[in-house]
Each structure stands twice: as structure tokens, then as C-alpha cells.
Symmetry: C2
Amino acid sequence: MNWPFTPDDTPDEVIDHEASVWGPLAAAARELVDACVMSDVDEGEVRAARADIESAVARLNASRREKSLGLTHSPAGRRRPWGNPVIGLRNPAAPPLEVTSTPDGRAESTFHCGAAFEGPPGLVHGGVVSMLLDQVLGHAVGAGGRPGMTGTLTIVYRQGTPLGDLQARAWVDRREGAKTWAKGHIIGPDGITAEAEGVFILPRAVRERLDAHEAAGGPTPEMRVFD
Amino acid sequence: MNWPFTPDDTPDEVIDHEASVWGPLAAAARELVDACVMSDVDEGEVRAARADIESAVARLNASRREKSLGLTHSPAGRRRPWGNPVIGLRNPAAPPLEVTSTPDGRAESTFHCGAAFEGPPGLVHGGVVSMLLDQVLGHAVGAGGRPGMTGTLTIVYRQGTPLGDLQARAWVDRREGAKTWAKGHIIGPDGITAEAEGVFILPRAVRERLDAHEAAGGPTPEMRVFD
């Protein structure tokens, strides 16, 4: 894989400003996603809402990026996983999760899944459960200093995960060469609903850079999860 | 689990009409989700777009459903998994997948994942890969006549799944009592990118109904996947 490592030297204040522009846009669109599945208005209002949305789309698409956000905002600079479907500031499909992590390889998040995440009646879609766990396990792995792409992921569903306020936790279980094993779970009002175990693999290009860095005695660069 | 089986006797023409109202709304909102991650317009236009979106949200939220779509549209009637985050007609966060299936327990879908599904640069998020596979495996299981909720799901990632046009396939591997094992994969331009195996469990309430139905010699009711 040709991993893109274009340096990203955007100053913090520019990034903060961009976040203040795009974040509220995505937040409004996130409310719209929920409204699309929960609205009960009449046909005329649905059409009027659609016209509003089409106006917004026309404005935003008047100029489009050449590359997706992941290809532009490289992990070499301050992280901007803004397009990420689980945690992305600019992604209206993301709940979004805010994940906190510690250098000992632990990550956790308290989040909300509304009606747009429903699978079985009243419950979070089983696939969404696996998606969220993949992200939080990946965070734990990255926080531990050796980020990786998911190699395998196993989810065991213990009970239905009710829509609403939820928690996710993950931790690094062990490491061996380029591989890191992580475990985690989602917690609902009645306890653990699903458990996950994953193997995350550090891509060779990143491994070589990390090794060179460590051999030179420099501090390990901030290299977290690949979103 | 208290599975809701309220009969749904909505006539086909009403359902078709509702689809013609809500489908285009969600399609416009889906374009908006993509525009939120791909737009490159200036601040003023972002603010104007946000105002358009807020107008749409206010219109749609003027009247909201009491229950989520899953709780209202029961699997006992013609299926309307409209809120589903993978296949939902009314869900702007869904790609959406159109899944075709056959009674021998096979399911497949050709679909598109754009920038809003990006994890690693240029690639579909590993968690999204697992989410899509969960859905397609569940379809295969349901198409085989004994639907189920996901019990365990294992994904093996063979290579990155590039954003763009993709295919997914799944099939029933074997059955034992209330459990059905299914397998499947996602195919990208360079072949299989990820493989899945899952165990799906038929909830007891549904099993009892199916058994009673079969014992009475009646045709097996159309009972597909639980989305």
C-alpha cells in the first residue's frame, strides 16, 4: 500500500478556525439525518425540506475537494480525522464518538446512538456495534504507540444494545512485532452488550519510520490510530 | 427480548406512495452528507448552507414520530426497513445497499462507498466493512427462511477496501437448531478485500411462531432478516 505521508504543517489556529466553520455545518446535517428517520410531517413539508436540502447541496458542491479528507489531512500532522464515519467532525453520518485515550493503550467513549442507528426494533444495528468497536479498539492500539489497521475483528453479541446513551471501552491486550491485540466492549443500561477482540497490524512503511525514530533516540512521534 | 410483532396491514399502494415521498428526501440528504466531507467552498457559503439545513430540520421536526421506524414497521407485514443504517430508504447515512437474495440462503449487493465512508486514506473504514458484511450475512440467513440476530461476527481483512464501487456476497454455511452460520465477503477492483463469518440466532418468540406455522402445514411466512 502506498501510504500517503505528505507533511501537514497547517497552524493550530487555522485548524481551530476550520473546525469552527465545518463542525456546526455537520452538526446541523446530523440533526437532519435524525429528522429524516423520525419526522412525521406531511408531504408538502417533506418537499419543502427537500428543496432546502438541495439548496444546501448546490452551495456546498459549487466547489469540491480534489481528494477526500483522509488523503489530504495526513496523520503526520495534528490529527484531523474529520471525514471519519465514526468520529468525524465533518461527517454527519458519524454519531460522532469522542474517544479519550491514554498512552498505556486504553480508550473510552461515552456517546449516543439515535434512531438513525437502529437495526432490530429499538436496538442498535449489529453492524453499527461492530463499526464502533473497531474504531475504539483502533484508538486503544494507536494510543499505545503502535497504531495499526484492522487485521481481524471478532464481535460477540451478549444482548441487544438499546438505542440511547452508551459507553465503549477498549484496551491493548498484547503485542508481538507488527501486531497488536486489543479487546473492548460496549456497555448499555443493563451492562455489557457486545465484546470485541481485534488484531491490528502496523503497516510496514509506518513501522520503518517508527523504528528509525526510536533508533535515533528521538521521541516517538504522535502516531495514533489510522482512522 | 420483547419482540414487537404488531401486525402491519398498510396497503401496498400506501407504502409505495410513502416511499416516493421519503425516498427522495433521504437521497438529497445523502448527497448532503457527501458534500459535508467533500465541499471546498468558503466560509460564507458554508454558513448559508447551514441555514438551509437548519430550515429543513425545523420543517421536518415540526412533527416527530413517537416511535422509531423499527418499532412501527414490524417485520410481520411487507418489510419496510426504512431507517436501517445500511439499507434504509429513509436513512441518509446508509450507502444504501440494495440486497438481492434467494431462498437457498444467498444474498448479494453491488454498491458504492463514497468519501463519507473513509477510514484510512482512500479506503473504506474497517468498521464500515464489518457493518456492511453483518447486514449482507443477515440477509442470506433471513432469505434461507430462519432469520436471526447476530450472535458472533468475525471479519478477516485481506487488503484495504478502496472507496468506490464494490460488491458483497453472503451465503448460509450450515444450520443447527436456532443457529445459522453464514459466510461472505466484499469484493473490490483487486478481488476479495474482507471475509466474514457469523452466527445468527433465531429469537425464541420467532422460532415458536415459525414452528407452529410449519406444524400446521402452512407455508412459511415471509420472514427475512431482522435489520
